[in-house]
């Protein structure tokens, strides 16, 4: 019997009277097609059928395709009169110096056809001769499309004559009325500029000059002045140290102007006879996890208050006086041990502190004096930091009250960097005269009557005394791109001098510095060293201070530690996409700053970090309140963060003079009350979640010793290399053989014994994770910037990444033991699960990873179009024009170093970073192709540089010497962590490194035979 049941879809169907169901069943579409389809009401009457339409479409597409095949007409415009030094296609190098008030470095600038394209270290210079990531990236800031292109008055373009004559008249009037005018600059260690300012003050006696450092070193300056009678900072050479004790000083970061990492790394490589190798020992007490803490042999997370106790206790131990401190017994014991080691190290010991506390700074100087430390050099002190916080506090009050009638600012942005910026801006608006020398329409420039467009340092002249007797020169490497004028030239004009700054420098140097030596030689070298030296005597007495330190009071609430990030620093170059996309060495987060919180505190405060299923990281947004000020920042749970402390980086949250893509993060300067980097704050969780763009999700190494190998100095000295650096074994005919043995190899290999064979060695002991190489790689190889959204999707394009690994136990060694003791499946599952959590105070290692240029490359065998192939010189070649974008190679790469162009990143409005405008594209290296959408790219071992070296040798008809072959990363590394060369040259340094017993290859067991090698990390525990 047939089923009588009626199924219905709608009630209407049940109504037999309704015609709707019938109607609908006849029609595919319920409604008529809209009449204005394709914009024509006459469409139904049109003769054009659908077929015709398709025909026309097809024809026009084909026609357009063929028409597009017609090549464009390129023009070539030679010079009318070619400068002698410039040969198109040949790079010129100029020595110059960057001094921007935060970073200082003697550098070489590579220019092509007159435009600077790359920053290189100037290894001949005696001080500050390595460029950090920010200095490496500074060349891109030259081509910043947001720069001010000429002088303006209230936002309207004016001529320089108008600006100068108006300001001159106004200054003269104010001088007559004796109204106070303030000249605000960052620390100027430039002897010529200081002289100019003095002359300016003679002309206008009502002008007072104040030095304002956005990030203050007041305590250290005051301490040194009290101890040695000169307001300066001592210089340090950590290569001489055997025992380094840092109490809250990020010596590998921006502490006291930075630039100490090269010397530090030298002391960290185990040297000496086998079995008796030595290296320095580094103790770090700190709250935030810094680069210094990550590299230290012993890192003890402590609050700032505890650090003061530690300083007192350490001083006590060294002088055999006991100061009662509320420290835990464990720390006391540690301090005692450290004191003993310091005593043993004697003049090779050093104690440094980053505490913003004059007492602590003086105590450190006292200890160093007592040790007779040779690491610290007081007679060649630096004046790269001069600012005095109390003076600036007073100044802001005076500006706000209207006492200061005129303000001239150069190289500072107080409306952004001052903790009480509103008070300053209110006063600035009231001022009769406000003139701001700026490269950007930044927060301060927006509130000034006059904005004087200044050139970038690569378009400027300048000089600096880096430390006593060590001078350096800045010279322009390109004609000014815009209608800009240097601050010093305007000062000269306002002082009614007919001279220009360049000639002033020249005459000042000739009469005061050079002592008969040639100015042109100094300009060529970029630096000049005179015999000038101080003879400063220690004259401080610190007994009473130590008492004070020992009685320091803990803050209520959480201790906020403000710091500067390796990428953005104080925020001057916040509009630089290379730096924004630079992954922070510790957190591996890009495009953001965040509140770093310890795991314990995060749990107590209800703050969360969540990993999304696609690998992206989300963090709760927290409210940080300080004296009524509330700042919101996302939270990142940071292993190693001292309990009871939180950290927040300066330099973010800038909005003025910035591309919208670059306006990220939170401004931490409002929390910098009284210029103290440690504040007592309260933190509360909000319901909001923030999306991070983090480039590394796997935080721990899970005990996989094949990736990062490390050992201790003791084992290194006492045991055979096979114990701490074993070669992986494979079984062949039930016999264990080395994985590198010929019998274990099933591939045929090139004969590489003739010609060049390039190898790159990476010393894990010398690498501090500073990231200069990452930016250098960007600059050399035209690596595109993809933006925060893409990074969050793991589509970052960095050819060179620096992996950071935490241990899940206190040390990596303990991790290994845990892995070894796993028994059974359930145990392994639960143990590995646990091992994903880093320890509260983990050991950290940095590992730069780029294409390993395997001799048996897994990527090459899977490419269907042979776009990836091998060269006899050891480089794995990538022919972009051949690549069709299957991405098989990336899938098959065990090191995950291949990068895919998901989009066209140049000339594309969706990626408005630097390759989208003519100005930004000027930084591109003309020897390296800019890749387009749909192709794979990766590290080439800078084949354009090795080829250039070979060609130069051929042209000159000579053999190549060791050290001539370089890559962008090995050139940028001032720490000696990256060495590059030809292993067929038996004398070469890199050849010796291949035979070093510390040498190992990444994932040796898979038999890829890489041309990149690593040197085992040795810890001096």
């Amino acid at each position: 019997m047939p089923n009588q049941k009626k199924y219905w879809k709608s009630e209407v169907e049940l109504n037999e009277q309704s015609t709707l169901v019938d109607e609908l069943s006849q029609k595919e579409f319920a409604q008529k097609l809209p009449e204005d389809l394709l914009g024509s009401t006459e469409l139904p009457d049109s003769d054009t059928s659908r077929r015709d339409f398709l025909k026309y479409m097809g024809f026009s597409t084909a026609a357009a395709t063929l028409a597009a095949c017609e090549g464009p007409v390129n023009t070539s415009i030679p010079y009318v009169i070619q400068p002698e030094q410039i040969i198109p296609g040949v790079a010129n190098f100029y020595a110059t110096t960057i001094v921007d008030g935060f970073d200082t470095a003697s550098i070489l600038i590579k220019t092509r056809e007159g435009r600077p394209i790359k920053v290189e270290n100037n290894p001949d210079a005696p001080v500050h001769n390595t460029a950090n990531a920010r200095v490496q990236a500074s060349v891109l800031s030259l081509y910043d499309s947001m720069r001010v292109q000429g002088p303006t008055q209230a936002g309207v373009d004016v001529s320089w004559e108008t600006l100068e004559s108006n300001v001159r008249t106004q200054l003269a009037q104010m001088a007559d009325a004796n109204e106070e005018v303030v000249l605000l600059t960052p620390s100027l260690a430039s002897p010529t500029t200081q002289q100019l300012i003095k002359k300016f003050q003679v002309k206008y006696p009502n002008v007072t000059h104040h030095v304002y450092d956005a990030i203050s070193d007041t305590a250290a300056l005051n301490a040194f002045e009290k101890a040695y009678g000169k307001r300066a900072l001592p210089s340090y050479d950590f290569s001489k140290a055997t025992c380094i004790v840092s109490i809250g000083a990020d010596i590998l970061g921006d502490w006291q102007g930075g630039g100490f990492d090269a010397g530090y790394s030298k002391s960290r490589i185990p040297k000496g006879k086998a079995g008796k190798a030595t290296m320095s020992k580094h103790y770090q007490f700190e709250a935030n996890m810094t680069l210094s803490g990550a590299n230290a042999d012993h890192r003890i997370p402590t609050t700032a208050t505890q650090q003061q106790f530690i300083m007192a206790a350490l001083y006590g131990e060294l002088t055999n006086i006991t100061y009662p401190t509320p420290l835990s017994d464990a720390i006391k014991k540690k301090v005692k041990a450290i004191a003993a080691e310091l005593k043993a190290a004697g003049e090779r010991g050093i104690v440094v502190t980053g505490l913003d506390n004059e007492d602590a700074q003086r105590a450190a100087l006292a200890i160093n004096h007592q040790l007779g430390s040779k690491v610290i050099d007081v007679n060649h002190a630096t004046q790269l930091r001069q600012g005095d916080a109390s003076v600036i506090n007073q100044l802001v009050n005076n500006v706000n009250s209207g006492k200061v009638k005129g303000i001239i600012m150069a190289g500072v942005n107080p409306a952004y960097t001052l903790p009480n910026a509103e008070a300053f801006v209110a006063g600035l608006k009231k001022a009769k005269l406000s003139l701001c020398f700026s490269m950007k329409n930044d927060e301060t420039a927006l509130h000034c009557q006059w904005v004087a467009a200044t050139p970038h340092y690569l378009e400027s002249w300048g000089d600096v005394e880096m430390k006593t007797g060590h001078y350096a020169l800045t010279q322009p490497t390109i004609r000014p791109l815009f209608n800009t004028k240097q601050f010093q030239d305007v000062l000269l004009s306002l002082s009614e001098s007919s001279s220009n700054y360049k000639d002033t420098i020249k005459s000042y140097w000739s009469s005061n510095i050079l002592g008969g030596n040639s100015f042109n030689d100094a300009l060529h070298d970029g630096y000049f060293v005179s015999k000038k030296s101080d003879t400063l005597r220690y004259r401080d007495n610190v007994e009473a201070l130590i008492q004070r330190l020992a009685r320091a009071k803990a803050v209520s609430g959480l201790e906020l530690h403000l710091y500067t990030k390796t990428g953005i620093g104080d925020g001057q170059q916040a509009n630089n996409p290379w730096l924004q996309e630079f992954p922070d060495p510790i957190s591996r987060v890009t495009w953001d700053n965040y509140l770093t919180v310890s795991k314990a505190d995060a749990e107590a405060l209800g703050l969360k970090n969540i990993n999304q299923s696609d690998g992206a990281l989300d963090g709760s947004v927290a409210e940080i309140s300080l004296n009524g000020k509330i700042v919101k920042a996302p939270v990142l749970i940071q292993p190693g963060q001292a309990k009871g402390t939180v950290g927040l980086a300066f330099g973010y949250g800038k909005t003025a003079g910035m591309k919208s893509e670059m306006q990220v993060g939170t401004n931490a300067y409002p929390l910098y009350t009284n210029f103290s980097p440690v504040q007592s704050v309260s933190v509360t969780a909000t319901k909001d979640m923030h999306e991070f763009a983090c480039t590394q999700l796997q935080n721990t190494l899970m005990g996989r010793g094949e990736i990062v190998r490390e050992t201790t100095l003791e084992i290194f000295n006492t045991k055979d290399a096979k114990y701490w650096n074993p070669m992986t074994q494979v079984s062949r005919d039930h016999v264990e053989i080395d994985v590198t043995a010929k019998e274990a190899d099933m591939w045929q290999a090139f004969d590489r014994s003739i010609g060049h064979h390039f190898n790159l060695s990476i010393d894990l002991n010398a690498c501090t994770g500073c990231g200069a190489c990452v930016i250098a790689c960007h600059a050399e190889n035209n690596v595109p910037i993809v933006g925060k959204r893409e990074i969050r999707k793991s589509r970052d394009m960095h050819w060179l990444r620096i992996d950071r690994y935490y241990s899940s136990e206190e040390t990596f060694k303990e991790d290994l033991e845990v892995v070894d003791n796993i028994s059974g499946l359930s145990d392994s599952l639960s143990t590995f699960g646990k091992m994903e959590d880093p320890s509260a105070n983990p050991e950290v290692t940095f590992q730069p990873v780029m294409c390993q240029h395997c001799n048996h490359a897994p990527c090459e065998t899977v490419c269907p179009v042979a776009a990836s192939s091998h060269g006899r010189q050891g480089q794995n070649h990538m022919a972009y024009n051949r690549c069709v974008g299957t991405r098989y190679c990336a899938n098959n790469c065990p090191y995950k170093v291949r990068r895919f162009n998901w989009f066209l990143y140049n000339k594309n409005d969706e990626f408005d970073y630097y390759m989208n405008d003519d100005l930004g594209r000027m930084v591109l290296n003309p020897d390296v192709v800019v890749r387009s959408r749909g192709v794979m790219e990766k590290c080439s071992l800078c084949i354009q540089m090795t080829q250039k070296t070979i060609l130069d040798a051929k042209l000159e008809g000579r053999e190549i010497k060791d050290g001539e072959f370089q890559t962008a990363c090995s050139n940028a590394c001032g720490n000696g962590a990256l060495s590059f060369g030809d292993i067929n040259d038996k004398e070469s340094h890199v050849k010796q490194l291949t035979e070093d017993k510390r040498m190992y290859h990444l994932l040796e067991s898979i038999g890829t035979k890489p041309n990149v090698m690593y040197q085992v990390k040795v810890r001096n525990t």
């Binding site: 063929l66 095949c69 090549g71 007409v73 390129n74 023009t75 070539s76 415009i77 030679p78 010079y79 009318v80 009169i81 070619q82 400068p83 002698e84 040969i87 198109p88 296609g89 040949v90 004969d751 014994s753 003739i754 010609g755 776009a867 192939s869 060269g871 006899r872 010189q873 480089q875 070649h877 990538m878 022919a879 972009y880 024009n881 051949r882 020897d927 390296v928 192709v929 800019v930 080439s940 084949i943 354009q944 080829q947 070979i950 060609l951 040798a953 051929k954 042209l955 000159e956 008809g957 000579r958 053999e959 190549i960």
Partner: protein, 432 residues
Amino acid sequence: MKVEFNHQLTYMLESSFLAKLPLLFFSLCFSVVLNAQEPDIQKGKSLFNANCAACHKLNKRAVGPALAGVSSKYDKEWLYSWIKNSTAMVKSGDAQAVAIYEEYNGSVMTSFPQLSDEDIDNILAYTDYTPPAPAAGTQAVEVAAAPESSATNDLILAVLMLVLAALVTMLFLVNKTLRKIAAANGVEFMNKEKQSRTPLWKAYAQNPFLVFVTVIFLLLSSAYVGYSYIMQVGIDQGYMPIQPIHYSHKIHAGDNQIECKYCHSSARVSKHSGIPSLNVCMNCHMNIAEYNGEEDLEKGYTKEFYTNEIKKLYKAVGWDEQTQSYTGDTQPVKWIRIHNLPDFVYFNHAQHVSVAGIECQKCHGPVEEMEIMYQHSSLTMGWCINCHRETNVKVKDNEYYTKIHEELSKKYGVDKLTAAQMGGLECGKCHY
């Protein structure tokens, strides 16, 4: 830069002078031996070209004044002493000498103490000489002579055509006559057999095999044509754009034998061969303001045409012919680039020109014969690779190669190495 210029100029003057010295000596002896009374215009011309032409022109002011008819302006004795030592005369305060010295902004005329009075007479005779105006008749003949050859060609063609037409008519007539005779004799044509035969095209269409073969052939050939068409897209062999200044490589590199790398100097050291900057042009063209070489009237390349192109150079570089100085008003020349390689190829001239010692013509073709520059080679990858396979590396006298060559030749037992054997076929050598 200016200093460098002057330096170069004096260098050129000196060198040309030194080069001509023996010649001068020779001609001096010659004139003495022969009759010395009558000034020799021919000799005067060669002396003028050797000594004076660097700074003087006959009818136009150059570095110095125009010299046509100069003997009528000054006393002969005065001219002798002026030419032999002008500086001394200016110093002595001779009014005429000082006037001319000041008129030319104090530029000193080179002294020619080696010229005898007779030489000077010869030169003056040359400068005074006005060539007789060519008779109208001869010119007309010359003009008429040019089209003559083409006219004869046409005539021959016309006669041939006539003969052919006559032959065809004759054939037709003969056929007609023969048919008439045949008809008269009762001969009949047999057409039946022909009619019963199937026409060829039908037979062809009915044979499936033949049709099949033809279709296959057509498909293959159209595929071949299509493929060749697609493959030539982007290849600009023969590309010959019109340049802003008609620069003739034929005149410079061909007629005047100027070395390629004199102008394209960066080809020796750089990846770019470089288009010479305009100051390089002015090294010569400061003195060469007009064209006096061969003409190609058919294409319109007259002397005026070339001289006009030199004027374009002067305009671009900002050179004022009247005052013989730079005005500073420059207009860079936008040349149209002929040899364009894609961005993803790295090519270095220095490697090929200096290291390998390859002649420019190997890739750029007979440049010295090109009135208008064009792209000679296809510049495709296949073209590059072929050359790399065939060309031996120039290892001689280059220490860089010494060791590598020794080892490689020992290993492979060959004396010569091609670029390909040295790794010249690896992708990454040109693509990065």
